[in-house]
């Protein structure tokens, strides 16, 4: 195993060296074609798969990307990787064309390539003339000896959706010599021959015909109208259409056969763009695909290599299928892929499979899962985008040899003494219970609840009290009047609370309560207020309180008497007088406020 690891190490080190020698080459599969034919341009980049060329621009030539293939080859321990980008060139007119130099950063540009597009063979030119030979197709009532037809599977398709195209040649007479078929000129279409040439016999208009058919599929390359020009069939017929019955007739007929060039009617195909909402990894394939992935070993050491094989198969333009997006696995090194295409006929459809083989090197030990790979396509039958998934692959990676693991980590990435992130993942579990008491207390305090009314209520109360205080300061007379009875009551209580030894003080307080009440009520000095003045003020009212006046007079005189004879007032007397004054002030309060 150690030997194997060293070998892989050497291979990868060599790959790193190869990456430094970047070179680009371009080749054409043909230098001379006829108008209507297509050429394949291959651009090979050796040494690094990361750079991609820009498709060349050539006037009057439509260019389509046909796909990309990658490969890693190991010869005598030397590793070389290459990426081949393939383009389809479809000239729109005859003439001499030049593929300009193709540039890739870090490499010398390619040499210009030249190719010639001819107008077509003489027979084709004749057929393309303004007055071609009439096409003796099957007409009502007519039954020509030979005719050719062309038909499309349907007249409307999506971009890159395959459409079957069938050319049928019918003959009711024996043919002389070889039959030549010239494919139609295609505009905005790529053609894939199904390799199916059927033949048989059928009755048309009461006449027996032998027919041959050639099937192919067409892939529209862009939205709009695609055109299929006439297909030509050149046949040698017996002159006069029929051979005679005797030997001499047949001899002379064969000696001078009639050449007839037949053609089909031109066809058009309406091409619709694909609907919006394509998945991120959609590459333009229209059809139906499936994907499967596998590895040649599921248990290996870190630094060792395994082969990952991804096979995408199905119906559609398999040639143009790009490699499925590789998973983002920082702990794994993926090398450039090598791809191969196998095309096959699936009923009337073209399909096949494309295989991508990649060398994979895990960098670290531990369980490793290569996640499911996906490929998206547009399913024209369901008229919806779909995505095929492969199965994920679980690998068991054992610790590798530390002496060999380091260089394998990555050509181009020099070993670094610092910390290198190998893979990004979530952090591990946390033990519960580490809650912030302060945070929880704040959260509990901030929870909605009626208690949050309290500070507002307190503030409102303070506002009211402050407002009243301000009013009192601004209007002292009104405050004196408003507090007259409260002041009297306070003095009455003080009087009642006086001990026996302070009876004179108690009587004085009773007198102050009575006179003070009326002094406050009438906003007059208490010292100058007499019973006569109070009585006069009360009698001047609209409804003088006669009964209360009499009681007031009695209480007032009694207080005067006691004030000057304090020894005669006992505790009970003070209490009685206090109650009387309390009742009087209450009665006058009602009377005066009414």
């Amino acid at each position: 195993m150690k030997t194997a690891a060293l070998a892989v190490c050497a291979v990868l080190t060599a790959a790193a060296a190869a990456a430094a020698d970047l070179s680009v080459s371009a080749t054409l599969d043909n230098q001379r074609v006829e108008l209507g034919d297509q050429l394949m341009l291959s651009v090979a980049i050796s040494g690094s798969g990361s750079a991609a060329p820009q498709p060349p621009l050539i006037a009057d030539v439509e260019i389509y990307e046909s796909g990309k293939s990658q490969s890693v080859s190991i010869i005598n321990g030397r590793v070389s990787s290459s990426v081949v980008h393939t383009y389809v060139l479809a000239p729109r007119k005859a003439g001499r064309f030049v593929v300009p130099p193709i540039e890739v950063p870090g490499a010398a540009p390619t040499a210009p390539l030249e190719f010639v597009v001819e107008q077509g063979s003489p027979a084709t030119q004749t057929a393309a003339a303004p007055s071609p030979a009439p096409n003796p197709g099957p007409r009502p009532g007519g039954s020509p000896d030979v005719f050719v037809t062309a038909a499309l599977e349907k007249n409307r398709a999506f971009v890159n959706e395959q459409v079957s195209f069938v050319v049928r040649f019918f003959t009711a007479v024996p043919l002389l010599g070889a039959t030549q078929y010239d494919a139609p000129k295609l505009t905005g279409l790529l053609s894939e021959n199904l390799g199916a040439e059927g033949q048989g016999t059928t009755m048309i208009g009461g006449r027996s015909y032998h027919f041959s058919e050639l099937k192919s599929v067409l892939f529209p390359v862009q939205a709009g109208r695609a055109a299929i020009g006439p297909a030509f069939v050149t046949v040698q017929l017996p002159r006069g259409g029929r051979m005679g019955d005797d030997f001499f007739d047949r001899f002379f007929t064969m000696a001078a056969p009639e050449t007839r060039r037949l053609h089909t009617d031109p066809l058009t195909l309406s091409v619709d763009p694909l609907p919006p909402g394509a998945p991120d990894d959609f590459s333009g394939i229209v059809g139906a695909l499936s994907i499967e992935s596998s590895v040649d070993r599921a248990r290996l050491k870190a630094g060792e290599a395994l082969n990952l094989t991804v096979i995408v198969s199905g119906v559609g333009n398999i040639k143009s299928l790009p490699e499925p997006k590789r998973p983002d696995l920082p702990s794994v090194r993926f090398f450039d892929s090598e791809s191969s295409v196998k095309l096959e006929r699936r009923g009337d459809k073209a399909g096949g499979s494309k295989t991508f083989k990649t060398v994979v090197v895990p960098k670290v030990s531990g369980p490793l899962e290569i996640p499911a790979l996906t490929v998206s396509y547009y399913d024209p039958a369901k008229r919806a985008y779909a995505r095929a998934h492969s199965q994920s692959i679980r690998l068991s990676v054992l610790p590798g040899d530390p002496n060999t693991a380091l260089p394998i980590v990555g050509p181009g990435a020099a070993p670094s003494p610092g910390v290198t992130e190998v893979a990004s993942d979530i952090l591990y579990l946390k033990a519960p219970g580490g809650r912030s008491a302060l945070g929880d207390t704040l959260a509990a305090f901030g929870a909605p609840g009626p208690w949050h009314i309290l500070p507002f209520a307190f503030f409102l109360l303070a506002l009211i009290l402050d407002w009243r205080r301000r009013i009192a300061v601004a209007d002292p007379r009104a405050r004196r009047v408003r507090h007259a009875r409260a002041a009297a009551e306070r003095r009455l209580k003080q009087a009642e609370a006086q001990p026996d030894a302070q009876r004179a003080r108690a009587v004085a307080l009773l007198g102050e309560a009575l006179t003070g009440y009326f002094a406050d009520t009438f906003d007059q000095p208490a010292a100058s207020l007499t019973l006569k003045a109070v009585a006069l003020r009360l009698q001047n009212r609209e409804t003088p309180p006669a009964a209360e006046l009499a009681r007031l007079k009695s209480a007032w005189e009694e207080l005067d008497l006691l004030r000057y004879a304090p020894g005669g007032a006992g505790q009970a007397e003070v209490k009685r007088l206090a109650d009387e004054i309390r009742a009087l002030t209450l009665a006058f309060e009602k009377e005066l406020r009414s």
Partner: protein, 240 residues
């Protein structure tokens, strides 16, 4: 409130034995079992951010990205200063095409802005409000001298009230109350609450949404990142 405060202060840590069982299942790679065990623990201790974080780990390892994002977001809402929780939430969100830090906002600024949770900011806001109002009331009731003494404290409390109030409101705008996470693998957002309406958008699992309204089995949601809205099956969204 007193009960809530006591409960918050005296909250007992999660029982050790069930947690160890959940951890053992997680370590053994039985992530679905671990998730079930963590969910049971959370039912008993819903305010424990670490348990939500652990549940997020179990969901993510079992391949349920949407539920992982939901749990990580709950952990983040409870304890935004936990760096591990913040990192794992960002890790999960990136898998759904989103990032924790909104585009255009510097990372440190967003970290500072979300350093306090919404509930903590609510508490600070109300604490400052109480302090401000009580100081203001005392100043009104007190003498001129006491007013002068309280003035500095009152201004400070009022400034804190304003600061925490604005901060709280801003955080509620960024992390609104009615939120959810898409838990379906490829959710379809329709132009109305029913299958008869056309699909306007598809959204990946794990994407955070704002729930705008409900109609039967459908929710009208807005995608926070893209700013688009549509109707989605309620079963495709887990509310936060």
């Amino acid at each position: 409130m007193i009960i809530a405060l006591l409960a918050a202060l005296l909250a007992l840590p999660a029982a050790a034995a069930p947690y160890n069982d959940a951890k053992a299942a997680y370590d053994a790679g039985h992530f679905d079992s671990a998730a079930s065990a963590f969910a049971v623990l959370i039912a008993a201790h819903p305010g424990d951010a670490a348990l939500h974080y652990d549940l997020g780990n179990a969901w993510l390892k079992s391949g349920k990205l949407g539920r992982a994002c939901t749990s990580y977001q709950r952990a983040f809402d409870l304890d935004p200063r936990d760096g591990d929780g913040r990192r794992n939430l960002d890790f999960a969100l990136r898998r759904s095409g989103e990032e924790l830090t909104p585009p255009g906002i510097p990372g440190p600024a967003f970290t500072a802005f979300t350093a306090l949770s919404a509930r903590e900011l609510s508490g600070l806001h109300w604490l400052a409000a109480w302090t401000t109002l009580i100081l203001a009331g005392l100043a009104l009731l007190g003498s001129a001298q006491s007013r002068a003494r309280l003035r500095g404290w009152l201004l400070g409390a009022a400034a804190a009230w304003l600061l925490f109030g604005l901060w709280w409101a801003g955080l509620r705008a960024v992390l609104p109350a009615g939120r959810g996470v898409i838990v379906a693998e490829r959710a379809e957002l329709r132009n109305g609450p029913g299958q008869t309406f056309t699909v306007g958008y598809t959204a990946p699992e794990g994407r955070r949404v704002r729930i705008l309204s409900e109609s039967g089995a459908w929710l009208e949601v807005g995608l926070l990142k893209e700013g688009v809205k549509g109707w989605i099956l309620a079963s495709s969204v887990e509310k936060l």
